[in-house]
Structure formats: structure tokens, C-alpha cells
């Protein structure tokens, strides 16, 4: 009787505790220990990977150059452009600046002069409208001499102070949170009336670069695939002692500095370089017809294909090695020509490796920086070179972050597509 009821209730241990609770208690200790083991890695990843990415994404939609000054030494924070921002709040977008607006700026300029933030504010406005920075620095220098009527005083300084584009730019900069950097990253601007328009043809840059990055990365991925497939097949089928030797050649690039590899490509490719000399020397090319292989897209493609080749070879090798030769033999004995046996039997079994290699090479190529910078010239630079320029050259970190954010989103979409089409479980990295 008791045995029957016991079977219907939840199971209990010998001393009457519920079995599930007992199991949880028994496992908790080992789970805790497992967690302690991975905790250092978790902290490391959070600090060095997740946090910077979040910080970067935040920077791409947040820039308080117009609204807040922090002193480098005392860390004292001063709100900037308070009066102008109030005027913006009280007047809707598109309102022509009146005397009150100019008076507000004049008051704000005094603060800027005091905390020496004229350059900072000017730079921020400059992101939205070029030539604004110099107007601000000049106005800050003369801030104390400005007297009512302020509109006329500003016209005296520079006619451009009445430019509606400047006022639209200041209005955009007035809120720290903005999507304008993402707009800029796809060659759009906000017009004075608030609508979104394309930038002038001659200043559009990023869409073309994104497109070029995409096309060149696809081309590089395809080229590495074409080159790596036979190499990986050879590696997988040769007797071990030969394949080990060949593997060293494949891995050799990993052991030399990236910079060394890229510069050696420069030695090979330049118009007075080894390759051109050989072509001219052997009479294939006339001396005056030396081919331009560097400082253009050809240079970027050649050098990056070489540098990324191992990332394609290794996943391919790892799927090819375990494929038993008897599959192809079976196909042949069943009447398939060697081409059919390859196409129908061997190739489909290597698809997970192709997917992994292609994904790896493509993602690396999309973000590649040093090689295109050195051998790409103006024609062969990729989007990452622009990101680097905004990081170190123009110091427009928010735009750099927006460009990087777009790249990240693009790659995530690709990854999602890959999962949808091939299935991430099928990924074989080695």
C-alpha cells in the first residue's frame, strides 16, 4: 500500500527528503566549484571585451562635446551652452535666430572663454558642419568685446553666423544623444528643417567604402577558398611525414610578424619590385609598361589573400582529414566518374569546413587594417582604415564608433544568415 502511494508522490531519498532537492544540493557544490574555475576568465572577458564594445556602442550615439566640459586636472564639470540650449527648447526647429538667440550665444561664449572650451564645442559642431570650429574659436577670443545689439555684432564677426545649416548643426549638437553619427556613416545629414537628406555627391564616402570592403572581402574569401581547397586536400591525403612538412609551410606565416609579411609583399609588388623586374627581364613586359600592383586594390587583394590563407586551410583540413578514402572508392565502384564522385560525395562532406573558413576569412578581411593601409593606397583602403583615421586623425571618435558599430551589426547579420542557411552546429573550426 505505501509502496503504491510512494510511486505516485514525488520520489524521496532513504531518509525522506525529496529526491529532487537532494540532487540539487548534491550538485550545487560542484556547480559552485565549476563557476569559480571559470570566474577569472569571465571577469577578463567582461572587462576586456564586453565592456569596451558597449562603451564603443555608447560613444556612437552619445557625444557631449557641446554640452559638458570636464577639466583635465580638477575633473570639475561645467555645463556649456546653457542659454542657447534653453533658447532651442523654447523655439521649435526651423525658427530663424532672433536677437535673444544671439544674446544667449554671447553669454555662453563667456563661459567657454573662462573654461577654455571653445575648441571642444567648435569641434563638436564641426562634425555636423565643416568650418564651424574656426568660427567658434574666433568668437570666443572676442567674447568680451561683443555688445548689443548682438545680431549685428555677430554679423560683424562673420556673416556665416546667420547660416541656417550652422543653426541646425548647433541644434543637433545640443543633445548629447544623437543618431547623427550613424546618419553620417551612411552618407546622410539632417537638413536645417530636420529631414534626412543625402550628402553632396563629392562628399559621399562611407557607403562606397562599405561596398568596396564587402566586395573585396568576398573576393578575398573566394580566392582563399580556391587556393586553400587543393592545399587542404593534399595535406589531408599525403602520408603523415610529407603532410607535416607541408603544414609547416602553411603555418609559417603565423610565426612571422604581420608587418614583415606585408612589407615583403611591398618588395615583391612595387613597380621597381621583384615581380615587375622578373616580368620585364623575361621580356613579357616592356620597361615602360610596368604593372601597378601596389597602392591600389590589386595590392590589397593579393597581400590579404596570402595573409588570410591559413584561416581557410585549417578548417578545410580539419574536415578533410577524417573523410575516409573508401567513400570516394565506393562511389567509383558504384559507377561514378572521378568528377562525379568528387562533386556528389567528397565535396558535400567538406561543406562545414568551407563555411567555417569562409566565415572566418570574411570576418577577418572586413576588419583588416594594417595591410590595406600599407599596400592599398587610396584605392585599396577599406572601411577599417577610415575608422582608424577617425580614431587617430580627425579625432571624431563617435563617427569611428558608429562606423565600427555598423560593421559589427553587418557581421552579426551575416552570422545569423549563415546559421539560417547552413546551421552553426555544422561549423567545424578544427
Amino acid at each position: 500500500m505505501t509502496a503504491e502511494t510512494g510511486a505516485q508522490d514525488a520520489l524521496v531519498t532513504a531518509d525522506g527528503k525529496p529526491l529532487k532537492a537532494a540532487l540539487r544540493a548534491a550538485q550545487a557544490r560542484s556547480k559552485r566549484r565549476a563557476f569559480y574555475l571559470v570566474a577569472p576568465l569571465l571577469v577578463f572577458i567582461l572587462l576586456t571585451f564586453v565592456a569596451p564594445i558597449l562603451q564603443m556602442l555608447h560613444q556612437s550615439i552619445h557625444n557631449d562635446g557641446f554640452t559638458m566640459h570636464e577639466d583635465v586636472i580638477s575633473h570639475e564639470r561645467t555645463p556649456l551652452m546653457v542659454n542657447l540650449r534653453q533658447w532651442f527648447d523654447e523655439n521649435p526647429r526651423g525658427t530663424a535666430p532672433d536677437e535673444a538667440a544671439y544674446a544667449a550665444i554671447a553669454a555662453d561664449l563667456l563661459v567657454l572663454r573662462e573654461v577654455k572650451a571653445g575648441g571642444q564645442v567648435g569641434t563638436r559642431v564641426n562634425y555636423e558642419r565643416s568650418r564651424s570650429r574656426s568660427m567658434f574659436t574666433k568668437a570666443v577670443r572676442r567674447a568680451e568685446r561683443l555688445e548689443p545689439p548682438f545680431e549685428a555684432a555677430f554679423m560683424d564677426l562673420d556673416e556665416d553666423w546667420a547660416d541656417p545649416e550652422l543653426w541646425a548643426a548647433m541644434r543637433s549638437s545640443a543633445s548629447a544623444y544623437t543618431m547623427n553619427f550613424y546618419l553620417a556613416a551612411i552618407d546622410k545629414v539632417r537638413a536645417p528643417d530636420g529631414s534626412i537628406t543625402n550628402v553632396d555627391e563629392d562628399r559621399a564616402l562611407y557607403k562606397k567604402l562599405f561596398g568596396r570592403t564587402l566586395v573585396l572581402s568576398l573576393l578575398i574569401t573566394f580566392l582563399t577558398f580556391v587556393l586553400a581547397y587543393p592545399i587542404a586536400h593534399l595535406l589531408a591525403t599525403l602520408p603523415l611525414r610529407y603532410s607535416n612538412l607541408l603544414m609547416i609551410f602553411v603555418l609559417l606565416p603565423f610565426w612571422t610578424s604581420l608587418l614583415v609579411r606585408t612589407t615583403s609583399w611591398m618588395v615583391l609588388l612595387q613597380s621597381q619590385g621583384v615581380l615587375n623586374d622578373a616580368l620585364v627581364g623575361s621580356g613579357i613586359l616592356a620597361d615602360e609598361n610596368r604593372v601597378q600592383l601596389m597602392y591600389n586594390q590589386a595590392g590589397t587583394v593579393i597581400a590579404m589573400t596570402h595573409i588570410l590563407l591559413p584561416f581557410m586551410v585549417l578548417p578545410l583540413y580539419s574536415v578533410m582529414r577524417p573523410i575516409n578514402p573508401s567513400y570516394v572508392r565506393a562511389a567509383r565502384s558504384l559507377g561514378a566518374t572521378s568528377w562525379t564522385a568528387f562533386r556528389r560525395i567528397y565535396f558535400p562532406q567538406t561543406v562545414p569546413g568551407i563555411g567555417a573558413g569562409a566565415l572566418l576569412v570574411f570576418i577577418l578581411a572586413v576588419g583588416y587594417y594594417i595591410t590595406p593601409a600599407l599596400v592599398g593606397g587610396a584605392d585599396g583602403t577599406l572601411i577599417s582604415n577610415l575608422i582608424a583615421y577617425h580614431m587617430t586623425g580627425s579625432l571624431n571618435w563617435s563617427l569611428a564608433a558608429a562606423l565600427a558599430g555598423m560593421l559589427l551589426i553587418g557581421i552579426l547579420i551575416l552570422y545569423w544568415l549563415y546559421d539560417l542557411l547552413v546551421g552553426i552546429d555544422n561549423l567545424k573550426l578544427g
Binding site: 567513400y327 572508392r329 562511389a331 567509383r332 565502384s333 558504384l334 561514378a336
Partner: protein, 367 residues
């Protein structure tokens, strides 16, 4: 084509030799001729060249010397896919990315057979191996025995006249293996296919084959039907390799009239049938099957020689008794007796007299 027996041979190896590295001959002077419909097994220890022979026949290895003929036509230079030979591999080699149906349809597809015809043929082949319900599964979703059946069905589905099997049952457990042995021979005979079967398991070879070719060291040591192989081995390797076997070393002291007397190392003399010996004074190794040794001297012919033996071990095995004796310096002399009502059970330490009919004891090469 002449009508002189040559025409009857379906598969022929003619003085075939094979070397992989130019230094060692893996197959040495292989001559073999199979009529249509025969089930022939290549039996031999690992490394004796069986797979190599099969691969040459299938077209995956080229013969270094000699001719291989199929149906009277030389096939040395015909690529594998044009030979029309079905093949079952040891690891089955079922294509992992295809379903069972697709696996079976593959040979028909590459032959350009129409879809409906193909489906009917696949269905027939699956039913033949009792796997009709499994057409939509992947190979990985099948057990070893089921995969084996599919591999068999795939090798037969395009109706080849010749099927090669390389240790196809090696990965199965004993019971399944025995069942599949029966299935394979049944199918081969029903369909009238010529089969070359490779194994290193002598029981498998004996129970399945019309003829067995015993391989060793790249040569066929003996090619004969199973009973002849067991009862009349041509040399000591075959005697030793097939079934259980007792050997005694000695010197031929008298020979003639189809019998010989052999003097053993301890001086005693036994009767034997000369096989690989021709004159007195020759070194020889005699071979006697454990079940042909007699304890009852009244069953031996008049004047037969007998030996004294000491019982070392007696094992009761149910249907038989297995007695280990020490005979003329050989401590591993095994005698098997049926568990009949009147059979004596010996005890270790006991001394007994043993003997055999001269035709059961074969004087072979000394090795």
C-alpha cells in the same frame, strides 16, 4: 574465343604481381580462375595481400605485372567506374550526407536510370535485405548490422555480375555475424552472382564458400573447397591455419605404396600419408586433426603403429571432451572426443595409448 575451358573462366588472375614501393612484392605470382556464379573466399592472416588483390580487381590499384581478366576481357587499364563491379567495404562506406534511399539510388542515377524505375529498383533492393522501412534514415541512425545490410543492398542494386566484399562482417558481434553469413550466401546463390569474399576468419570462409583460397605471404597456399582444405591440407601453413591441428616433427624412415613411416624425435614410429615428402630421410612435419585421434585401438587397421601419451588436462565442454596430452615431446597435443555414453573420461597424469588411421595423418613440409 576458343572453347577450351579458358572461356568458362569469369574472373582470372594471370601471373599477377604487385609491389607498392618497388622493393617488396606484396602479391607474388597470383594465378586464379573463377567460373561464373562461384563464391570464392580469400582467407589469410592480416597483411597477406588479400585486400591488395581485391583492389586490383576493383581497379583501385594497378597490377605491377600480369593480367587480370573479367569475362575474357583484360581489364588492367579500365577505370573502376567502368568495370561494373559491386563492392562492400569493411567500414560500409555509406555516404553519410545521404539517406538510405539516396545511397541506393546513387549507382542507378550515375547510370542515367529514370526516376520511377530507380525508385522501384531501390525498393526491391531494400526489401531484399529486409530494410524496406528504413529508406528515409541517415546511415548514422542505423545500427551496425543494419548499415551492413544497406551496404550489401547498395552493392547489389545495379545488378553487377561480380561482387567484392572486404571483411564485410568484421565489425559485427558474433551472433549477427553468423546471421549475416547466412544471408549473404543465400543472396549470392539466389541472384547467381559471382562473389569474391575476403576474410581472416576461417570459420566464415569454411561455412560460406564454394572454394577458399588460402593466402600467405602474397601467395595462394591452397585453393580448394572447404572440406578438402580441412581434411587434405597441402602444406603445414594451411593445416595450421585452418581449424585446430596437432603437429609432430620427425624424419621419414620408409616410404611407398601411398603410406610412409615417420620416426619421431623420441624414437617412436608412426604411420602417415606422404603429401610433401618423396623419399626416406627427409625432414617432415605430420599433421593430425584432434577429432581423428583414437583411444580405442580396435578401430585401427591391422598393424597400425601406436604411441604412449600422458594426459595433461581434461576439459568437459558439453558436447565434446577436449583432452590435452603430452606426445613425443609435444605438450600441446589435443584430442577431441564426442560425449557419447560409452566414452571414457580421462584424468590428468594417466598414461594412455593413442593411434590413428594412416590416411588421417599427413606428412607435410618441415617448414
Amino acid at each position: 574465343m576458343t572453347d577450351n575451358g579458358q572461356a568458362e573462366a569469369f574472373v582470372e588472375f594471370d601471373r599477377v604481381q604487385k609491389s607498392y614501393d618497388g622493393e617488396v612484392l606484396v602479391v607474388k605470382d597470383l594465378n586464379l580462375s573463377m567460373p561464373k556464379g562461384e563464391f570464392l573466399t580469400m582467407l589469410g592472416p592480416s597483411g597477406s595481400g588479400k585486400t591488395t588483390c581485391l583492389m586490383m580487381l576493383a581497379g583501385f590499384e594497378t597490377a605491377t605485372h600480369g593480367e587480370i581478366r573479367l569475362n575474357g576481357q583484360e581489364i588492367n587499364n579500365i577505370p573502376p567506374h567502368k568495370r561494373g563491379i559491386g563492392m562492400v567495404f569493411q567500414n560500409y562506406a555509406l555516404f553519410p550526407h545521404m539517406t538510405v534511399n539516396e545511397n541506393l539510388a546513387f549507382p542507378l542515377e550515375v547510370r542515367g536510370m529514370g526516376k520511377s524505375e530507380r525508385e522501384a529498383a531501390v525498393k526491391r533492393a531494400l526489401d531484399m535485405v529486409q530494410m524496406g522501412e528504413f529508406g528515409n534514415r541517415r546511415p548514422a541512425q542505423l545500427s551496425g548490422g543494419q548499415q551492413q545490410r544497406i551496404a550489401l543492398a547498395r552493392a547489389l542494386v545495379f545488378q553487377p555480375e561480380l561482387v567484392l566484399m572486404d571483411e564485410p562482417l568484421g565489425a559485427l558481434d558474433k551472433q549477427l555475424r553468423e546471421h549475416m553469413q547466412f544471408e549473404i550466401t543465400r543472396l549470392a546463390h539466389e541472384l547467381g552472382i559471382t562473389t569474391v569474399y575476403v576474410t581472416h576468419d576461417q570459420t566464415e570462409a569454411l561455412t560460406m564458400s564454394d572454394r577458399v583460397a588460402v593466402f600467405n605471404d602474397g601467395r595462394i597456399q591452397q585453393l580448394a573447397p572447404p572440406d578438402q582444405l580441412y581434411e587434405q591440407p597441402d602444406n603445414s601453413f594451411v593445416a595450421q591455419f585452418i581449424g585446430e591441428n596437432n603437429t609432430l616433427d620427425g624424419v621419414v624412415s620408409e616410404i611407398g605404396n601411398g603410406t610412409a613411416l615417420v620416426k619421431l624425435s623420441d624414437g617412436s614410429v608412426i604411420d602417415a600419408t606422404p603429401v610433401n615428402v618423396s623419399h626416406a630421410g627427409e625432414q617432415t612435419r605430420v599433421s593430425i586433426r584432434p577429432e581423428r585421434v583414437e583411444f580405442d585401438m580396435s578401430r585401427l587397421p591391422e598393424g597400425a603403429h601406436t604411441l604412449k601419451a600422458e594426459v595433461k588436462e581434461f576439459v568437459y565442454m558439453g558436447d565434446i571432451f577436449r583432452t590435452r596430452l603430452s606426445v613425443a615431446g609435444n605438450d600441446d597435443f589435443i584430442v577431441k572426443t564426442r560425449n557419447a555414453a560409452d566414452q571414457v573420461r580421462l584424468t590428468p597424469g594417466q598414461t594412455v595409448e593413442i593411434g590413428w588411421k594412416p590416411e588421417d595423418c599427413r606428412a607435410l613440409d618441415a617448414d
